[in-house]
C-alpha cells in the first residue's frame, strides 16, 4: 500500500487483486450464505479503498483500515439490496401481459402495449423486452449489457412501473 500511495502501478494492481480475494472471502463469511451481490461489495470496497488511499498511515497496520472500509461497504450494499428486494416485484410474480391479454384482444390493445414499450427509455425497453419477450435470464442480460444483476432488476422494475402508468391498467396476474 505504501508503494501504491507513491504511484507504483504494479504494486497497486497486486494490492487490488489481493484485496478482491480478501473482500470476497470476508463478504461471504459475513453474509453466511451465497448471495448474488458479493461482487457489488467487492467493487464498492475497491473503489472506496481507492478513494481513501491517502488516509492510510503506513506506520499503522493495514488490516484495521481495510476491514473498516470493507465492513462499511458490506453494510451499505446489504441495506440497499434489502430495500430493492422490498420495493421490486419478485421474479415469479412479474407481470406477464402475454397471458393476461386474451387471444381475442383487440389489435388496439396490442398496439397500445407496443407504443408504451416504444416510449420507454432505451435501456428500460431493452431489458423489459429481453426478460418478457425473449425470456433471457437476468444474469445473462447483466453479462451482455455489462451491468450488475441488481441494476438489471431495478431497471426492469422501473420499466414495469412506467408501462403500468402508460397503459393505465393493473398488469398483475389474478
Amino acid at each position: 500500500m505504501d508503494r501504491a500511495q507513491h504511484g507504483d502501478e504494479d504494486a497497486y494492481v497486486e494490492l487490488l487483486v489481493q484485496l478482491t480475494a480478501a473482500t470476497r472471502h470476508y463478504a461471504r463469511a459475513r453474509a453466511g450464505a451465497p448471495v448474488p451481490w458479493i461482487d457489488d461489495v467487492v467493487q464498492e470496497t475497491l473503489v472506496a479503498v481507492h478513494r481513501a488511499r491517502h488516509t492510510f498511515d503506513p506506520s499503522r497496520p493495514f488490516a484495521p483500515w481495510f476491514y473498516a472500509i470493507a465492513g462499511n461497504r458490506f453494510v451499505d450494499v446489504f441495506r440497499r439490496e434489502h430495500r430493492v428486494r422490498q420495493r421490486e416485484v419478485g421474479g415469479d410474480a412479474w407481470p406477464d401481459w402475454r397471458t393476461t391479454l386474451s387471444a381475442d384482444a383487440s389489435p388496439v390493445d396490442v398496439d397500445l402495449v407496443r407504443k408504451a414499450l416504444a416510449a420507454l427509455p432505451p435501456r428500460q425497453r431493452e431489458i423489459v423486452e429481453a426478460i418478457k419477450l425473449r425470456e433471457e435470464s437476468v444474469r445473462d442480460i447483466a453479462a451482455r449489457l455489462g451491468l450488475t444483476v441488481s441494476a438489471v432488476k431495478v431497471t426492469a422494475h422501473r420499466g414495469y412501473r412506467a408501462l403500468r402508468r402508460a397503459l393505465g391498467v393493473d398488469l398483475r396476474e389474478e
Binding site: 501504491a4 500511495q5 507513491h6 504511484g7 502501478e9 497497486y12 494492481v13 487490488l16 487483486v17 478482491t20 461482487d39 457489488d40 467487492v42 467493487q43 464498492e44 475497491l46 473503489v47 472506496a48 481507492h50 478513494r51 481513501a52 488511499r53 491517502h54 488516509t55 492510510f56 498511515d57 503506513p58 499503522r60 484495521p64 483500515w65 481495510f66 476491514y67 473498516a68 472500509i69 462499511n72 432505451p122 435501456r123 444474469r139 447483466a142 453479462a143 455489462g146 451491468l147 450488475t148 441494476a151
Partner: protein
C-alpha cells in the same frame, strides 16, 4: 460468475488508470492542533469585536467560571479529536471515541443542573429565567466558522460513520462558540447557562446529524457509481 469477475477486473483497470501518487494525510493530532489554534484565534477576535464582559479579569480567578470554561474547552477539543479520528477508516470505534465528548457535554449540563438544585426551586428558576436569544445567536455565529473549518478538514479524509463524525463536529463547533460566549455574556446564573448556553449547544450539535450524509458522502457515492458500472446511454 465469470462476467461478474470481468466487471471486477474492469473496475481494477479503471482504478489503476485513475491512480496518481497521493499525499498522505497529516496525523490526527496535527490536524486537530491546527483546527484548535485557528479556532482559538477566531474566537479571540470575535470576543474582542463583541466586547468582553466588564468583570472578566475578576471572573477568571473564580473557580465556578474557570471550571465551566475548562469543561467547555475540553468538550470542544475532545469532540474535534473524535471527529478527526473518525474521519480515518479503522482508526477509532465510533462508540468508544464518540462517547467521551458527549459525556463531557452531559457533565457540563449536570454541573449546571447541580448548581440550580443547590440554589433551590430549580423549576421556578428555570421558568423565571428571562429569554436571551442573543446568547444563542452568539454561540451559533462564533461556532459557525470553526465548524466550517472542521468540516473542510474532515472532508479531506474519508469518514465512514458519517453521523457520528457529523455529530462530533457539530459539538466541537457549538462548544467553541459557547466557550467564547462565556467571556461576552455577563450572566452567571445556572438557569441562564442551562437554558441559553448548554441547551443550544446540544441542539446545534445534533443538527448536523441530518446534514452529515450529504456533507461527507455525496462525491464518494457518485464516484463509486461511475467507476463501478458502465455509464448508461
Amino acid at each position: 460468475m465469470k462476467n461478474d469477475r470481468s466487471a471486477v477486473a474492469s473496475t481494477i483497470a479503471a482504478l489503476v488508470r485513475d491512480a496518481a501518487p497521493v499525499v498522505p494525510l497529516d496525523p490526527p493530532s496535527a490536524r486537530v492542533s491546527r483546527w484548535a489554534l485557528s479556532s482559538a484565534a477566531f474566537a479571540v477576535l470575535a470576543v474582542v469585536f463583541l466586547g468582553t464582559r466588564h468583570d472578566v479579569a475578576s471572573q477568571l480567578g473564580r473557580p465556578w467560571f474557570a471550571a465551566r470554561a475548562t469543561v467547555t474547552l475540553a468538550t470542544a477539543i475532545a469532540a474535534a479529536t473524535a471527529a478527526v479520528r473518525l474521519s480515518v477508516p479503522g482508526l477509532a470505534r465510533p462508540l468508544r471515541i464518540g462517547a467521551m465528548p458527549w459525556a463531557l457535554c452531559l457533565g457540563w449540563g449536570a454541573s449546571l443542573a447541580g448548581g440550580l438544585v443547590s440554589i433551590g426551586s430549580p423549576l421556578r428558576l428555570l421558568l423565571s429565567a428571562s429569554p436571551h436569544v442573543s446568547c444563542v445567536v452568539c454561540i451559533a455565529a462564533i461556532g459557525l466558522v470553526p465548524g466550517v473549518w472542521l468540516v473542510r478538514t474532515l472532508r479531506q479524509a474519508e469518514p465512514l460513520d458519517v453521523r457520528w463524525t457529523g455529530g462530533c463536529a457539530g459539538l466541537a463547533s457549538a462548544a467553541s462558540g459557547a466557550l467564547a460566549t462565556q467571556f461576552v455574556c455577563s450572566s452567571d446564573a445556572p438557569a441562564h447557562h442551562l437554558l441559553w448556553h448548554f441547551a443550544p449547544v446540544v441542539l446545534l450539535a445534533l443538527a448536523p446529524l441530518a446534514l452529515a450524509p450529504g456533507l461527507f458522502a455525496p462525491q464518494g457515492r457518485r464516484q463509486r457509481d461511475e467507476m463501478k458500472t458502465p455509464p448508461w446511454p
